[in-house]
Amino acid sequence: MIRKSQNMIKYIIKRILIMIPMLIMVLIFTWLLSHMMSVNPVSNKIGFNLDPDVYERELRRIGYYDPWYVQLGIYLQNFFTGEWGKSYIVLPEKPVLEIIASIFPKTIELMIFPIVIVPIIAVKLGVLSAKNKNKSKDILIRLIAILGAGFPVFWIATLLQRFVGISLSRFTYGAIAIEVVYSNSPDLDGPPIDNFPPFMNNLFSFLFFLLLILGIILLYKNFNNFRDSKRNKNLIYTILGSLIIIISLVPIILLVIAFFENSYGTGFRIIDSLLYNDQIYLWDTLIHLFLPVISITFVSLAGITRLTRSSMLEVMDQDYIRTARAKGVLEKDVINKHALRNALLPTSNLIIGGTASALLGSLFVEVTFNYRGFGFYMVQSIFAGDFLVINGLLVFSVIIILTGTLVADVMYTVIDPRIIYR
C-alpha cells in the first residue's frame, strides 16, 4: 500500500511536470492563432480617418511592428505575471482575468445540477437496461437515450424555449443579466452595510452554519462508534457527513474570499440570494436556469446511459458472473457489486472527461437562451474578434481539460486497484 501510494505521487508529479511544457505549447499555439486572425487593434480605438502619423505612432507604441519573437516573449511574460490584457469590444476596458472570474461562476451554476445528478441517474438506468435485455424496460430506456443522443441539443433547447418558455416568462421578474445581488428587493437602495458577514442575520445563512455543525456531529459520532456491527452503516454516515461538511463549507470559504476582496457577494447567484435572504432573486434565478438545465441533462443522460449499457452487457457475459450466480450470490449483488464495478471503467472516463468539458459551458444552450456564461462570451468574442479575451478563455479551458484528464487517470486506480502506474 505504501509503495502504491508512493508510485501514485510520483505519477502525479510526473504528469504535472509534463503539463507545464504542454501549457507553454498551448500558449504559443493560441498566440499564433490570434496573431493570424487579429484585426488591427488600433483601428478600433482611433479609426482610419485620422492622421496617419498618429496611427503609425500608436502602432509602434503598442508593439505591432516588433519582430515575432519579441511579441511572443512579451506575451508569455505578461501571461505568467497575471496580466492577461484587457478586452476592448465585448466588455470594454475590463481585464480578462476579471471577466473570467465574474463569468465562470455563472457557468458553474448552470452545470452543477447536471454534473452531480446525471451520472447517478444514468448509471442506474444503464444497469436497469442491461439487466432486462430486450424486454420492454430496456427498449423504452434505449429509445429515450437514442433520442437524447441523436437530436441536436440546440433544437431541444429551441423547442423548449418556444413551448414552455413563453409561459414560464410570466413567473420571472426580469432579465437575468442584472449583476447586483440586491437589485430585485424593492426596499434596498444600496449595499446592506450592517449585514456583513451575514451569518446570523437570517434563516438561510444560519442554515448553512447549522449544516456544518450537523456534519461535524455526524462524523464525530461515526468515528466514535467503531464497535457497531454493520460496516455499511458506518460507510453511509461517513460519506453523508463529509458531503454535508463540503456543501456547507463552500459558501463560507467563498464569503471569506469575498471579505478579503472587499466585495459583497460571492459571484454565485444562488448562494448570494440564500445568504442575503432575497427570495425574489433566488426564485428568479431558479426559473431562468430551469430550461437550460433540462436541455443539458437530457443530452448528457443519453450518452452515459448508452455507454454504461454496452459495458454492462459486455461484462455480464464473463465467466466470473456465472460463477457468482452459481455460488449463490444474490442477484442484486451480482449486478451491483460484481458486474458494475468491472463495467464502470470506461463510464468513469466519460463522466470525468465530460465534467471537464461541461464546465466550459455548453455553447449552444447558452447561445439559445442568451445566458451570459462562459460559452456565450467565447462565441461573442470570436465573432467580435476580441483576441485577448479569446486567448484568455481558450487557455483557461485547456487548463481545465488537462486537469480533468489527470483526475480521470488518477481515478482509474481508485476504481480498479489492479491498475498500477510505473
Partner: protein
C-alpha cells in the same frame, strides 16, 4: 462434415425437385428458428454453426431495421429531390428572393409546411437539404479516416520515437475543445462551409489516429504477422497485406458513428451562423427560425430531420457492431 451435407442436399434435389428445395432453403435463411422436419439433428446443428446465418439473423434486429429505414428515407429524399418538390434549388437559397413571398407563412397548398425567413418554401428546403447534409457529412469522415489510417499505422508499426512524438501530438490536440477551434480557425481561411468541413475533418484526425493505432497494435501481436516477417516479407507488404485487412471491420463500424457525429456537429456550426447561405442546409434553417419565436414549424422540422439522420447512422453503427463483434469498444 460439410461433404455429408452436400451429398444429402444433392439427393434431396433428385427426389424432391429444385423448387421445393429452394423454398426450404429460403425458409431456413429468412425465418428465424424455423426447423426443417426432414433434416436430421446433426445436419441442423451444422447449419446453425455456419456464421452466415447468424450474422444475417443478428442484423435483422428491430432497432437496426429502424435505423436502416431512416437512412433509406433520407437517401431517397436526397436522390429523388427534383421529382419530390416543384421548387428547384435556385429558388430555395440565398441569392434569390421570392417576389411575392410572405415570411413565416402558414401552410398553404402551394407551401405544404409553410415558409421560412425571406419566403423560401420549408418543405423544399428540407428535401434539397438532404443532399447538402449527406455530402457535407461524408467529406470530414473520409478526410479524418484517411489521415488516421496513414498516421496510425505508421506510428503503431514503427514504434519507438515516431510513436512517442505522434502520441504527444495527439495528447496536445486532445486538450483543446474541438468546436471552439473550428469556430476560431474557419474565419481565418474565409468563412464558407467547405472550409468548415475541411477543418472539421483535420481536427478529427488525432482521435482516429489513436483508434487505428490501438487496432493495429492488437493485430500485430498475432502469429501470422510474425510468420510473414520470418518468411521474408518487407515492411510495406506486411503492413498492407497482412495487418491492414484485419483491421478494416472496426473501421467500417466507426464510419457510421463518425457520420452521425459529423451531421450533428456541422448542423451546430451552421446554427451559430458560420456557414454558406447559398446552400439549403438544415442548420441554417434553425438559425433563420430564431427571427420569429411564435412560428414553431420552421424550427421543428429541420431539427427533426437532423435528428433522424443522426439517429439512423448511430443505430446502424450499433447494429453492425453487435452483429459482427459485440466486444468492440466503439
Amino acid at each position: 462434415m460439410t461433404e455429408i451435407v452436400l451429398n444429402e442436399i444433392k439427393r434431396d434435389e433428385k427426389t424432391e425437385g429444385k423448387k421445393n428445395n429452394f423454398i426450404r432453403l429460403l425458409k431456413f435463411y429468412l425465418l428465424p428458428g424455423w426447423r426443417d422436419p426432414e433434416f436430421t439433428a446433426m445436419q441442423n446443428k451444422i447449419e446453425m454453426i455456419k456464421s452466415k446465418r447468424r450474422l444475417f439473423r443478428r442484423l435483422l434486429s428491430p432497432l437496426t431495421m429502424i435505423g436502416l429505414v431512416m437512412i433509406l428515407f433520407i437517401v431517397v429524399l436526397a436522390v429523388y429531390a427534383p421529382w419530390l418538390t416543384p421548387y428547384t434549388i435556385d429558388h430555395l437559397a440565398s441569392p434569390y428572393l421570392p417576389p411575392d413571398g410572405i415570411n413565416f407563412a402558414d401552410p398553404t397548398p402551394a407551401h405544404p409546411l409553410g415558409t421560412t425567413k425571406f419566403g423560401y418554401d420549408l418543405l423544399g428546403r428540407l428535401i434539397w437539404g438532404a443532399r447538402t447534409t449527406l455530402t457535407l457529412a461524408a467529406i470530414p469522415v473520409i478526410i479524418s479516416l484517411t489521415g488516421g489510417i496513414i498516421f496510425g499505422t505508421i506510428s503503431a508499426y514503427f514504434g519507438g520515437l515516431v510513436d512517442t512524438i505522434l502520441m504527444r501530438f495527439v495528447d496536445f490536440m486532445y486538450s483543446f475543445p474541438t468546436i471552439i477551434l473550428v469556430i476560431i480557425i474557419t474565419p481565418m481561411l474565409g468563412g464558407s462551409l467547405v472550409n468548415v468541413v475541411i477543418v472539421w475533418g483535420f481536427l478529427f484526425i488525432p482521435a482516429n489516429m489513436r483508434f487505428v493505432r490501438s487496432l493495429v497494435l492488437q493485430v500485430k501481436q498475432n502469429l501470422y504477422v510474425r510468420a510473414a516477417v520470418t518468411g521474408g516479407a518487407d515492411k510495406m507488404k506486411v503492413m498492407f497485406k497482412h495487418v491492414f485487412p484485419n483491421t478494416i471491420s472496426p473501421m467500417i463500424i466507426s464510419i457510421f458513428g463518425a457520420m452521425g457525429l459529423t451531421v450533428l456537429g456541422l448542423a451546430s456550426i451552421a446554427y451559430l451562423g458560420i456557414g454558406d447561405q447559398t446552400l439549403a442546409d438544415w442548420g441554417t434553417d434553425i438559425m433563420y427560425s430564431i427571427a420569429r419565436m411564435s412560428a414553431v414549424g420552421p424550427a421543428f422540422w429541420p431539427g427533426l430531420f437532423i435528428g433522424i439522420t443522426a439517429i439512423g447512422f448511430i443505430l446502424l453503427g450499433d447494429g453492425l457492431r453487435d452483429a459482427l463483434d459485440p466486444r468492440l469498444k466503439i
